[in-house]
Symmetry: C2
Subunit: 370 residues, 2 copies
C-alpha cells in the first residue's frame, strides 16, 4: 500500500441538512451522519475511511456546526482534538473551507489541502486515490485542482466542468486546464456532453496549497478573506471565542465555486483531473434508490432492517429505521421511508418535491420532526 | 319516531378477524372494533345504534369470542349482562346464530330474531328500518326473510339473490320469494344482473321466528341443531360451562347460508325484501377507500388523524393511527395504513392480496403484529 502524502491535509465540510432526504435527514441528524449505502457506517465515516490512506489519522479536519460536534467525534474517534473546527453558524462553503485553510496554513505554511464533502458516495478507492494524488502534484506546482467525475450517463442533475489543454506536471498524467464551468444542462445538452467526453461532473472537490487558495479568495472576496485570517490568527489562542463571535456572523455567505474556483478558471489557474470512479451526491431519494438498487429499478431495495420488510409483487426502495413490520403489496417504483416519528411515501419522479414538504412542516411550526 | 318492534330481537355475530384489513384489523382488535367510516365510533357501535330504534336496548344480543368480551361490553355499555353470548372457539355463522336462536327461543318461545353483521357499513337509516320491519312481518307469516341490497353498481365482489314472485303479506309491500342464490359472478354477468334489477346483493341478513330457523336447521344439520339445543338448555343454568365445553368444540363449522338459507330457498320458504340503502361489507382496503372517498378516487381521503397527514399532489387513502407525520408526495391511488407496529402500502387493485401478507407473517411466526 502507498504511504500517506506528507504535506497533504484533508478538510471535510460537514454541514447541510439535506432536506430532500427528509425524514431520514434531520436538523439534528443530517445526511452525513446516516448510513445511506448499507455499508454499516455513516457517510461521514465512509469519507474518513476513504481519505485515511492519503492522510493518516492526524491530518483530516472536519468543519461542522456546534450541534453536531459530539456526533462527529463519536463517528470519528481517532480525529485529533484540534481538528474539529466548529462554525458558530452556517456560512456556506467559502467561509467553511477558507477557515480551515487559514487555520491549517498558520499551523503549517506550505500545507496542501483538499476539501471533500462529508455526504457523498464514492466507490473504487484506488481510482479515487489516484485522482487525489495527481491533484496534489498539481497543487505543488501552484494550481488549484479539482476532480471532475467521468459521467456514467447524460445527467441533468449536476454541473459540468469542460476540460481544456493538457497540463504537463510530473505525477499528474491525466491533468488538464479547466476551460469552463457549466451549469446543470437540459437533457439534449447533457447527451452532447456525455458523447463529447471532455465534460466532467463537478463534484466540488478542490485541492490546492492553502496559501494559493487564500490568495485567490483575497483577490475575489477581500473582506471574507480578511475576516477569516483574523479568526485563524486567534483560533489556537484563548481569544478564539471572542474573535469568532465578533467576526463570523458578518462573513459573506458564498459558495467556494464562485469565490475561488470559477475566478481561478478564468485566469487559467484551475486544473482538473478526471475521476474514473463511481460518485454520487445522494442528493434525493431518487438518487438514493438508484444507488441502493445498483441502477436496477426492477427490484425492491431495502435500506435498514431488511428482515422487517415484506415485499409482495413490488419494486422500489424501502428505508426502514424502526422495528415495525412494513408490508408493500403490488406497488411499483415506490419510495417508502419509515422513521420513528415520520413516514414518507413518494416516487423517484417526485423526489425533488420532498423539500417542499419540509417547507410546509416548517411553516406549520412542526419542528419536532424536522 | 316509530316504536321498537315488540316481538323482535336483534342478534349481532361479532367474529371474524378481517385479515384483508390488516394491519388495521387484528386478532385482538378485529374489524368490528374499529371506526372504519370516520363516524367516531366502531362498526359494532354503528350496528348497535342502527338497530336500537327497532329493538330498544334490552333486545340486542351479541355473539362473540372470549377474547373480545370486555371490548364488546366497553363499546356497548347499555347491553344487558345476559345478552353477550361467548363462543369458546370460532365455529362459523350457523353455530353462532343458531346458538343465539336457541337461547332466545327458550327465553321467549315466539321471538323473531334478525341477524346483522357487526362489521358492515349501512347508511340511510329509514330505508334500513323499513326493510327490517317488512322482514319481521314476513317472519310473523312463517317465512325466513333476507334483506337483499339493491345494487349500486355491477359488482363482482358479492353473491346475488334472484327475486321471484311477489309475496302478499301485510306490512311487507316489497317482499318476494327468493328464486335462487348465485355465487359471485364475472363482470359480464354482473352487468346483466345490474340491468335486470331482479338480482340483489346477498348481505347475509336473515330475519325469522327463532323456532322456524331452528326447524330449518334441524332438517338440514340435525347434529348441529341437537348440540345447540342441548347447550341452550344449559345456558341460563350453572351447567353452562360444563355443557358448552363438552359440545361446542365438536359442532360442525358451516355458514348459515348453506345450513339454513339455501335449503329454505329451495323449498320456497325464503323471502327477500329489497334494501334501498347504501351497504358495504368493508371487506378490504379497496372497499374502504371507496367508502371513505365517497366513490371519488381523484381525491386524498384520510381516516384517523387528519392533521398528521401531508398530501402533496397525491390521491388515495391514508389511514393514520399513530401520532407520526405522514407525507405522501406525488403518488396516485395509493393505500397507506400506518399503525403503531406495522405499516402497509398497497393499491386498490392489490387489496385482496393483503390476506397473503398475513399468511406470510403467520408462517414466519410474527404473531406480534397479527
Amino acid at each position: 500500500m502507498a504511504e500517506p502524502i506528507e504535506d497533504f491535509y484533508a478538510v471535510i465540510p460537514a454541514g447541510g441538512v439535506g432536506s430532500r432526504l427528509w425524514p431520514l435527514s434531520r436538523a439534528e441528524a443530517p445526511k452525513f451522519l446516516h448510513d445511506l449505502t448499507g455499508s454499516g457506517v455513516s457517510l461521514l465515516r465512509n469519507t474518513w475511511d476513504r481519505l485515511l490512506p492519503l492522510t493518516g489519522p492526524n491530518r483530516i479536519a472536519v468543519v461542522t456546526g456546534k450541534a453536531h460536534e459530539h456526533r462527529v467525534e463519536d463517528e470519528l474517534p481517532d480525529i485529533p482534538e484540534g481538528n474539529v473546527f466548529i462554525e458558530s453558524s452556517p456560512r456556506e462553503s467559502a467561509a467553511a473551507i477558507g477557515l480551515a485553510a487559514a487555520i491549517l496554513q498558520r499551523r503549517e505554511p506550505d500545507v496542501i489541502i483538499g476539501s471533500f464533502a462529508a455526504d457523498h458516495h464514492i466507490s473504487r478507492q484506488r481510482a479515487f486515490e489516484f485522482a487525489v494524488r495527481q491533484s496534489v502534484a498539481l497543487a505543488r506546482a501552484g494550481y488549484i485542482s479539482t476532480i471532475g467525475i467521468a459521467p456514467s450517463e447524460p445527467s441533468v442533475g449536476f454541473g459540468y466542468i469542460q476540460k481544456g489543454d493538457e497540463i504537463d506536471v510530473e505525477g499528474a498524467p491525466m491533468a488538464a486546464i479547466v476551460e469552463q464551468f457549466v451549469e446543470k444542462p437540459d437533457l439534449d445538452t447533457a447527451r452532447k456532453y456525455y458523447a463529447d467526453r471532455n465534460f466532467l461532473w463537478n463534484a466540488g472537490m478542490f485541492i490546492s496549497r492553502a496559501d494559493v487558495l487564500l490568495a485567490e479568495l483575497a483577490a475575489n472576496e477581500p473582506e471574507l478573506h480578511a475576516g477569516l485570517l483574523e479568526i485563524a490568527e486567534a483560533w489556537d489562542t484563548d481569544r478564539r471565542a471572542e474573535v469568532t463571535d465578533r467576526i463570523w456572523p458578518g462573513l459573506k455567505k458564498i459558495a467556494i465555486d464562485y469565490a475561488v474556483a470559477e475566478p481561478a478558471a478564468e485566469k487559467g489557474r484551475l486544473a482538473v483531473v478526471p475521476g474514473h470512479f463511481d460518485w454520487d451526491d445522494v442528493g434525493d431519494f431518487a438518487s438514493l434508490a438508484k444507488l441502493i438498487s445498483g441502477g436496477r429499478p426492477d427490484r425492491m431495495s431495502i435500506l435498514g432492517r431488511n428482515e422487517m420488510v415484506l415485499a409482495d409483487e413490488s419494486t422500489g426502495l424501502v428505508v426502514s429505521q424502526t422495528n415495525r413490520v412494513i408490508a408493500v403489496v403490488g406497488v411499483q417504483g415506490l419510495i417508502v421511508v419509515d422513521t420513528e416519528d415520520a413516514l414518507l411515501v413518494t416516487t423517484s419522479e417526485h423526489a425533488q418535491r420532498v423539500k417542499s414538504v419540509v417547507g410546509t412542516l416548517q411553516s406549520r411550526g412542526d419542528d419536532r420532526v424536522l
